[in-house]
C-alpha cells in the first residue's frame, strides 16, 4: 500500500503564553491509500484542526504534512489552492453546496476549475449523482434537497474531482442517525468499490463502527489507534 498523507510532528497552537492552546500537538499520522479512517474524540480534541492541516486549509505551527512524499508547507497560496483542487476532496458538516447552483452544477464547478472538458464533466456528474442515489434530481438547487441529499451531493462533488483523499469533518453531525448511517454506508461502498481513501471525524459511536481504522484524539494528541478488519 502507498502512503497518501503523512504528518510528522504536526502541531497547531493558538494564542501564546498563558492563553496558549495546543489544538494539535506533535501528531504523527500516516494515511495509506484505500483506508477508511475515523478521527474520533470529544469536542475540542483537535479533529477539525487536524483535518484542516491535512487539507492545506491552515498552516501548522510546527511539523509537516507530506502529500505523496512532498511537503506542502513549501507551497505558495496558489499552489496550495491547486493542491486542494486536485488532491483533496472536502465534505463539511453542512452547507457544502453553492446555493445558486444545481446539484449537477455544484459537482461540475470543481471540474471547471480543473479544466476538464465538458463532455467528460457531464459524464462524471451523471455517473456520480447516480451512484449517490440522486439520479433525476440533478437540476435541483440545494434548497430543494433534504439535508441527507445535500450531503450526498457533497460526497459526489468530492468524488468527481478524483482526489487522492476525501476529508469529511463530521459529515453526519447535522443528520438524523438513520440518514447519517446511510450516508456513511454509501461512503463505505465508494471506498470499497472505487478504492477512494476517506478520513472522517465523528464523535458518534455508531458512526465510528463503520471505520476500519480509528484514531483517538484527546487534547490534540493521538491517544491510541484501533484497526478492525
Amino acid at each position: 500500500m502507498s502512503t497518501v498523507i503523512e504528518t510528522v510532528g504536526l502541531s497547531r497552537h493558538y494564542g501564546s503564553g498563558d492563553t496558549l492552546v495546543k489544538a494539535l500537538d506533535a501528531v504523527d499520522l500516516r494515511i495509506e491509500a484505500g483506508e477508511f479512517t475515523a478521527i474520533v474524540g470529544p469536542s475540542g480534541s483537535g479533529k477539525s484542526t487536524l483535518l484542516q492541516l491535512i487539507g492545506g486549509l491552515d498552516h501548522p505551527s510546527e511539523g509537516e504534512v507530506h502529500l505523496a512524499g512532498q511537503p506542502i508547507s513549501s507551497y505558495s497560496g496558489r499552489q496550495l489552492s491547486d493542491f486542494r483542487r486536485d488532491h483533496i476532496g472536502f465534505i463539511f458538516q453542512a452547507y457544502n453546496l453553492i446555493p445558486v447552483l444545481s446539484a449537477a452544477e455544484n459537482c461540475e464547478y470543481i471540474m471547471l476549475l480543473q479544466g476538464i472538458k465538458a463532455d467528460e464533466r457531464q459524464r462524471r456528474v451523471a455517473t456520480m449523482l447516480q451512484q449517490v442515489g440522486l439520479a433525476g434530481r440533478e437540476d435541483r438547487r440545494p434548497s430543494q434537497l433534504s439535508g441527507g441529499q445535500q450531503q450526498r451531493v457533497a460526497v459526489a462533488r468530492a468524488m468527481v474531482s478524483q482526489p487522492d483523499i476525501i476529508l469529511a469533518d463530521e459529515p453526519t453531525a447535522n443528520l438524523d442517525s438513520q440518514t447519517g448511517m446511510d450516508l456513511l454506508d454509501m461512503m463505505v461502498e465508494l471506498n470499497q468499490r472505487d478504492g477512494m481513501t476517506f478520513v472522517f471525524s465523528t464523535h458518534d459511536p455508531k458512526i465510528m463502527e463503520r471505520a476500519r481504522r480509528l484514531v483517538y484524539l484527546r487534547d490534540g494528541v493521538v491517544e491510541r489507534e484501533e484497526r478492525r478488519d
Binding site: 486549509l57 463539511f92 458538516q93 480543473q114 474531482s161
Partner: protein, 407 residues
C-alpha cells in the same frame, strides 16, 4: 461559470440588488438631467448675451472698451462691411455709434446709452426689430427724429409713443453738449434690464452727426454662421479683421465675466457628479459588503475546494459589472425620459439675470451624445472601482476561519 454565478448571486437577494442598482441608476439619471439643464442654461446665456443684442463678436477701436471714451472711433466702415458681407464665416454685421447721453421728457430725465444704428443691418444681427412692443422699429428712410426706447425707460420718463424727448450728447468736435429733439417712435422690450432701462436707439447718421464723428463708428457687431466659433480666441477671422487701429474679439473676450461664469457651471456639473458618484459608490460598496458577509461561509467552501483567490475577486467584480451595466441601462432610460419630460415642460427663470445676462428664454434641458456615452462610462468605471474594495475583501477570506463552525 463566473458570469453565470455572478448573475445568479445578484438574483439571490433581488430587493437588495434592485436598491443598489437604483442608487446607481438614479445618480446617473440625475446627472444626465443636471448636465442637460446646465448646458441648456449655458447655451441660453450665451445666446442671450450674443444673439439678443451683442453679437457673436465685435470690432472696436483698440482702446475703446478699456476707456469707453467716445473719441476712440474707427473708420473705413463701408469697406469693412463689404469685407464682412463677403466673408464665408460671417452671417451678418452691423455698425453702431455709441455715446453716453441724457434723455429728458416733460416729466423726468435719465442718463442713457445712446446707440446709433443702421436699422436693416441691425435687424439681421440683433433681436431689436423683433422686440418692438409698441410703435415701429426704426426706418432708415423715415424721420430723423425717430427714437426707440425700452419699456422701462419709457415708464421712468413717463413717456408714450409720439411724446417729445430731448436727447443730449457730447459733441467731439466743439466739445459742447449737443441737444436735439426726438419723438418716441417705438418702444421695445428685451426683457433684459440693462437694455430696457438704459438704451435709446436712433438712426446712425443722426448719431454720427450729433457726436461729430463723421463716418466713423464705435462698434461693429457681427454674427458668425457657426456661433460656437466665436469662442475661439485665435479664430483667423478675428486676426483678419483686426489692424493697428481696431480689434475684433469674440464674446468670451468681450464678456470675461460671462465666460468665467460658464466655466463655473461646467465645474458645477463635475461637482454634482462627484457628489452623486461618491454616494453611489458608497451604496455599491455597502450592498456588496452585505452580500459578501452573508456568503463568508460559501466563499470559505469555494476556497477550500480549490478556487483561486483571483477567481473569487473576479466573481465579485463580475457581480459589480453586471449590476453596473444593468443600473446604467435603467439610469439612461430614466434620465432620458425625465430630461425629455422637463424639456417639454421647460424651466422658466422669468428673465432672471445671471452675471449680467438675462435668462430670458424657457430653458429646455438638452440631450447630447456625450451625456449618453461619457457619463455611463464614468459611472461604470467608478462602479467597478467601488467594487475593488469588497472584491479584495472577499479574496482575502481565510477558509479555515470562514469554515471554523464545522472544520
Amino acid at each position: 461559470m463566473t458570469w453565470h454565478l455572478a448573475l445568479r448571486n445578484l438574483a439571490r437577494n433581488r430587493r437588495r440588488t434592485f436598491l443598489t442598482a437604483m442608487i446607481i441608476s438614479l445618480s446617473l439619471a440625475a446627472l444626465v438631467l443636471t448636465d442637460g439643464v446646465i448646458s441648456a442654461m449655458a447655451d441660453t446665456m450665451v445666446r442671450s448675451a450674443t444673439r439678443l443684442y451683442g453679437g457673436d463678436a465685435q470690432i472696436h477701436q483698440r482702446d475703446y472698451l478699456a476707456a469707453r471714451d467716445e473719441s476712440f472711433t474707427f473708420g473705413e466702415v463701408a469697406a469693412l462691411l463689404d469685407q464682412l458681407d463677403q466673408s464665408e464665416w460671417v452671417e451678418a454685421a452691423t455698425p453702431r455709434a455709441l455715446a453716453f447721453g441724457m434723455v429728458s421728457s416733460s416729466a423726468s430725465n435719465r442718463a442713457v446709452q445712446v446707440m446709433g444704428i443702421d436699422p436693416s443691418r441691425e435687424a439681421r444681427v440683433s433681436k431689436l426689430a423683433n422686440v418692438v412692443v409698441e410703435g415701429d422699429y426704426l426706418d432708415a428712410g423715415g424721420s430723423e427724429t425717430q427714437l426707440l426706447i425700452g419699456w422701462r425707460l419709457a415708464q421712468l420718463l413717463e413717456a408714450e409713443l409720439g411724446d417729445r424727448i430731448v436727447l443730449s450728447v457730447h459733441n467731439q468736435i466743439d466739445e459742447t453738449a449737443e441737444q436735439q429733439l426726438f419723438r418716441v417712435s417705438g418702444i421695445f422690450r428685451f426683457n433684459a434690464r440693462e437694455l430696457d432701462e438704459n438704451a435709446a436707439f436712433i438712426l446712425l447718421p443722426r448719431a454720427q452727426q450729433m457726436l461729430g464723428i463723421g463716418q466713423q463708428i464705435h462698434e461693429l457687431a457681427l454674427n458668425l454662421r457657426q456661433a460656437s466659433l466665436a469662442g475661439q480666441a485665435d479664430l483667423p477671422l478675428f486676426a483678419q479683421l483686426s489692424n493697428a487701429d481696431r480689434i475684433a474679439e469674440g464674446w468670451p473676450q468681450l464678456m470675461p465675466q460671462l465666460d468665467g461664469m460658464l466655466q463655473m457651471t461646467r465645474y458645477s456639473t463635475v461637482i454634482v457628479g462627484v457628489i452623486l458618484f461618491v454616494l453611489a459608490a458608497l451604496g455599491v460598496i455597502n450592498g456588496l459588503f452585505m452580500s459578501i458577509y452573508e456568503r463568508v461561509w460559501e466563499f470559505g467552501v469555494l476556497l477550500a475546494i480549490g478556487t483561486r483567490r483571483r477567481v473569487l475577486f473576479g466573481l465579485i467584480l463580475a457581480e459589480g459589472l453586471l449590476l453596473g451595466v444593468g443600473a446604467i441601462v435603467i439610469g439612461l432610460v430614466v434620465g432620458v425620459l425625465v430630461t425629455v419630460l422637463v424639456a417639454q415642460i421647460g424651466i422658466d427663470y422669468g428673465g432672471m439675470e445671471v452675471a449680467g445676462v438675462a435668462l430670458n428664454e424657457v430653458i429646455r434641458p438638452q440631450l447630447n451624445l456625450s451625456q449618453l456615452i461619457i457619463l455611463p462610462i464614468w459611472v461604470l468605471a467608478l462602479t467597478l472601482l467601488a467594487c475593488l474594495y469588497p472584491a479584495a475583501h472577499a479574496a482575502r477570506i481565510v477558509p479555515a476561519r470562514a469554515l471554523h463552525k464545522s472544520l
